[in-house]
Symmetry: C2
Subunit: 666 residues, 2 copies
């Protein structure tokens, strides 16, 4: 039978040889982590390579994603649908073995990693989802949802601030089934880390309330095995296992040095490493007995079969719970959702009093949440300001694990990355709030939501100088536009309660894209809509108001959010002067762009070149819509600290200015 | 004589009453922090209200910037140029007392704070600058640079990941003259923090190698005084003083509750608080004896006078050092800088072999750094990839404090915020590198550089799908454009070595704006320039190549960075077909936008409407330049993991496509 060391060496040489063949990649980390990862996967990880989507599998997250060949090697060797030919294609165009692990791209990859710190935060989200679902669905007889979340992290993850946010919160939430293995090799890209990273990491994690197992020899599988067993036994705290390792373990010349971190070892050193580790096999050849020893399919099938039996019995005993779990794990919405959505939009369209869009957002939540138990909301310590705590919401607490409203604390980045983990786990549908200006703090996690195609909803309130007195540090200027630039992120800036409802219901229905809802602090007047306008709310842009005589408009006004009401007032004033004006509300530019050309041309007729866009933010992206002859009223400078009603005039975002500019065009 | 408590109450009521008058603001934190802040300012802080710019003053940073009234009260009471009328104008348009403290706006405000966590990181930068300057300029006889950096931080700062990054690094760098006071009131906006923030903070900071003084009664000035004295005595570790306080101290009904965090107390509660604290004075009236007791001008003048004498003697003893320090503290460049810059650009323009712009950036550094000892460089653990470690650079270490190359570790956000602190301190000129895609991690600190108008240079390499195999997590798509949206940030994407030199020398000369240099990993062919082109490099956009016959162009190609060479090749091909093509290189759009209309029209003649822009990134912002009839070749989707030379064709960013689209236009 193959030894643990032989299995680890198989991982090492697949990694070494794939990187060498690609002439690019990171061999050092897989070589250093092979021993403890093999110990984890062969002795603890409950998974089924034949079904990477099995709901109750243990999750495994490689937070230091540059060590992708470690994961690909494990997936290949344990029987996932990832062939040796795939391994040989590492980092090539169209291959299944991308430079960093990519979710939806490679079977068995639980999350896309590479941007450091995010994997550990994703893992916190997965462990949180597991805890919530277990509390909601398990019964005394049925432990249906019951798995661990394992995460491997390196020095880079430990240095990133995100690891502080996520791990501090995980400690407070007592996520006992989260087990992190720290690849403590003391090397980062710039070299031996001590001069710039000298934390006592075990003490740091103990300070977070974690169960810490320090000083484990990461090259001793039995020691690691015992540590994991100890970690599993502590269920009221997350566990950190500190594995002392040597980067590039086995490379006689390069081990223990940053030189083996991010470049192929080279043929000579690979030959020396083969000799050192006693691995006589040519590249990409793994002895059959190692394959046999590592094949996780038989056990995996057994685990899943047993669980399927359990689920069958559960379905008999608790048919409604089983159906709900099934719907939620499949990501489907309730059968009546479309109806619910349409009626909510209609109802919000009838509102007659001014209301801030953050408030109408909360009204949407109040209406929808009772129908969507999968919603997991929260805020980065701004629940009341963001209006994210809906009626009847219960806070998630260690002693109230059925709660679905999360206090993330002042931790925007962790909130976003944890929401990604929640969405990745499945069974829950996360949304979370902060001030729009602080989307900066979590921007790369929002990008990861979009890159992975996750249904995560960002509630971003206080969306302009409308913030008022808090001043320029709190007034977003460039943020709406800069979020629009992130591919596959839908950015909504609704103009009133009806558009807010359209945004919410549209966002909830997107199975593979995140949405950002940019909402006001200040009140918005309800808009009056004709039938067509109401029907087109979910097209991203639509004709809100047209010339009374139905003739071709002379001037096109377009706007979003709080500026739509200014455009409407300006249009009325111009209409009084006999000007034919059309007002187009553009709550979601990406969605409008995705409409057929015929629709877009009907809304923005190419013949009408007198176009004026109004948005209390950066102007740059609007030139695409107003064209060479158009103009944009916006803000390409920072705001000021003053009451909001003083600021709009100060920056020339007024009805008068719209009217004046439109007149100039005529 | 006034008691410490009376002085603290003066701070409390100025804060309470100013917030009440503004009907907005944060009274709770100033009320809670007044006692320990008064202890710090009256018994330890060495500053001179008559000269807030005195080089050797102690720095005081309010990291929890929402407590701005605390700082304004202290500035007012100790004699800064901030009158009671200014206090009454808190949060009003045009006042000197903005909602959050703003650098350059209010005398005595050392940095703009509000976005949590950044103040503590700024303070780390200030303490680092002090250490470096002391090492470079002090002599055994002259302790010229010798001050403390004090920072106050709240629970929010403690939760933010940035505090981990900055404080972990401060520990490793042993910044002994950094003293942080933690306002440990256990309340954040969502309420009592324990359920979501249960860190053992003293243990956490001890794990960073800090000197921690736990369990200090923050309302006992003598206890705080003693703790500060103890902190000052430990010079080989930064110190954290944990001050237990009660938010809203003195308010009978609201103290200890989040309800007094972000809203006025209200008239009734203010009356009760006056009674509770025994403060009979009407709003904005502070007894003269308290003013007299708190006036820091006599002592401040004394401190500065003594220091000025020291500096005079130093100037006599070390005239060159004194001149160098003076030049650097005033932010001036060496007298021959313009000449040096011009010669560097000329020299780089003569380079004949292809070179990546990250490499030509390093060549610039190698050439400039010997003339600019104020340069403080570094990288977030990517020194070799970012090419930020110049020839002869010495790493800053606790035992090598004259070093000016900083290993920031994998801490992008801290790097940026620390660079802000370095620039704020003065005497140093910071630049720092990471991959462009990870600008996301530090985006809000980049915004703060721009908002404060700080000379900070961001070296952002691996600027497109040219990254290649690392794949979409590491390939910026939207980043160049999204950085362009940040007001007052100059974003350069140079096309060859000469443009890189222009970017560097331009950036170094900006006294009140940060710059981002977006640089390639892959080689760029050197461009051939005529005289005018070379002269216009620093205009942000210029005619690189024109139709040979000098006639009006039929087609305008514009591009940046690595795509300029594609545009040039396409232009040559089109010229061979008899098409008159102009190629415009646009390395810095903001700078081009700032040129006079006549120059812009000369470069982009309005009559030429056949325009094609090429940039391997988001297309949205280019419509402003190509107009309604133009087109953009770019990327509005994520990249892929593959060698770079496979990716440009995959995404249609090729000479062939440029030629084809240009032909279509004709």
């Amino acid at each position: 039978m193959s030894t643990m060391r032989e299995m680890a060496n198989a991982v090492r040489f697949l990694s070494i040889d794939a990187v060498q063949q690609a002439r690019s990649g990171h061999p050092g980390a897989p070589m250093g982590m092979a021993d403890f990862t093999v110990a984890l996967w062969t002795r603890h990880l409950r998974h089924n390579p034949l079904n990477p989507g099995w709901w109750n599998r243990d999750r495994f997250v490689l937070s230091n994603g540059h060590a992708s060949m470690l994961l690909y090697s494990m997936l290949h060797l344990t029987g996932y649908d990832l062939s040796i030919e795939d391994i040989k294609q590492f980092r090539q165009l169209g291959s299944r073995t991308a430079g960093h692990p990519e979710y939806r791209h490679t079977p068995g990859v639980e999350t896309t990693t590479g941007p450091l710190g995010q994997g550990i935060a994703n893992a916190v989200g997965m462990a949180l989802a597991e805890t919530m679902l277990a509390a909601q669905f398990n019964t005394p007889e049925f432990k249906l949802i019951d798995h661990f979340t394992y995460v491997v992290m390196g020095d880079g993850c430990m240095m990133e601030g995100l690891s502080h946010e996520a791990c501090s919160l995980a400690g407070s939430l007592k996520l006992g089934k989260l087990i992190a293995l720290y690849d403590d090799n003391g090397i980062s890209i710039d070299g031996a880390v001590t001069p710039w990273f000298s934390d006592n990491t075990p003490a740091r994690f103990a300070a977070y309330g974690w169960h810490v197992i320090a000083d484990v020899d990461g090259h001793d599988p039995d020691a690691v095995d015992a540590a994991i067993a100890a970690a599993k036994a502590v269920t009221d705290k997350p566990s950190l296992i500190c594995c002392k390792t040597i980067i590039g373990y086995g490379s006689p010349t390069l081990c223990g040095s940053e030189k083996c971190h991010g470049a192929p070892l080279g043929d000579d050193e690979i030959a020396r490493t083969r000799a050192e580790l006693g691995w006589p096999h040519p590249p990409f050849c793994v002895p059959e007995e190692i394959y046999a020893a590592m094949d996780a399919r038989p056990d995996g099938r057994g685990h899943e079969d047993a669980w399927n039996e359990l689920f069958e019995a559960y379905t008999t005993a608790h048919p409604e719970l089983a159906a709900a779990l099934s719907r939620r794990m499949h990501g489907g919405l309730p059968a009546d959702f479309q109806e619910l959505a349409a009626s909510l939009v209609r109802e919000m369209n009838l509102l007659e009093k001014p209301v801030a869009s953050r408030k109408s957002s909360q009204m949407c939540l109040d209406a929808l949440a009772p129908h969507l138990p999968e919603l997991v909301g929260g805020s980065a310590d701004l629940a009341e300001s963001n209006c994210t705590h809906w009626k009847g919401a219960v806070h998630f607490r260690p002693d109230a694990p059925t709660g679905t409203s999360v206090n993330y604390g002042v931790r925007e980045f962790a909130m976003a990355a944890i929401m990604n983990g929640l969405a990745l786990h499945g069974g829950v549908l996360p949304f979370g709030g902060t001030f729009l200006v602080f989307s900066d703090y979590m921007r790369n996690a929002m990008r990861m939501s979009a890159l992975m195609g996750l249904r995560v909803i960002y509630v971003l309130t206080h969306d302009s100088i409308g913030v008022g007195e808090d001043g320029p540090t709190h007034q977003p200027v460039e943020h709406v536009s800069s979020l629009r630039l992130i591919p596959n992120l839908a950015v909504w800036r609704p103009a009133d309660a009806a558009e807010t409802a359209a945004a919410w219901t549209w966002a909830l229905a997107q199975e593979s894209a995140p949405s950002a809802l940019c909402l006001t602090r200040q009140n918005l007047a309800p808009l009056v809509r004709e039938g067509a306008a109401l029907a087109n709310l979910d097209k991203g842009g639509y004709v809100l108001l047209d010339a009374a005589d139905g003739g071709d408009p002379q001037v096109l006004l377009m706007a979003t959010g709080s500026e739509v009401m200014l455009a409407v007032r300006a249009a009325r004033q111009l209409a009084d002067e006999g000007v034919r004006v059309r007002v187009v509300s553009m709550p979601c530019l990406e969605l409008f762009d995705a409409q057929p050309r015929s629709y877009k041309d009907a809304v923005l007729p190419p013949a009408v070149t007198r176009r004026l866009a109004v948005e209390a933010g950066a102007t740059g992206l609007w030139h695409k819509y107003v064209g060479s002859d158009g103009a944009v009223i916006g803000m390409d400078r920072y705001g000021l600290s003053a009451p909001a009603d003083k600021l709009f005039p100060e920056f020339g975002i007024t009805v008068e200015r719209i009217v004046a500019l439109a007149r100039e065009m005529l």
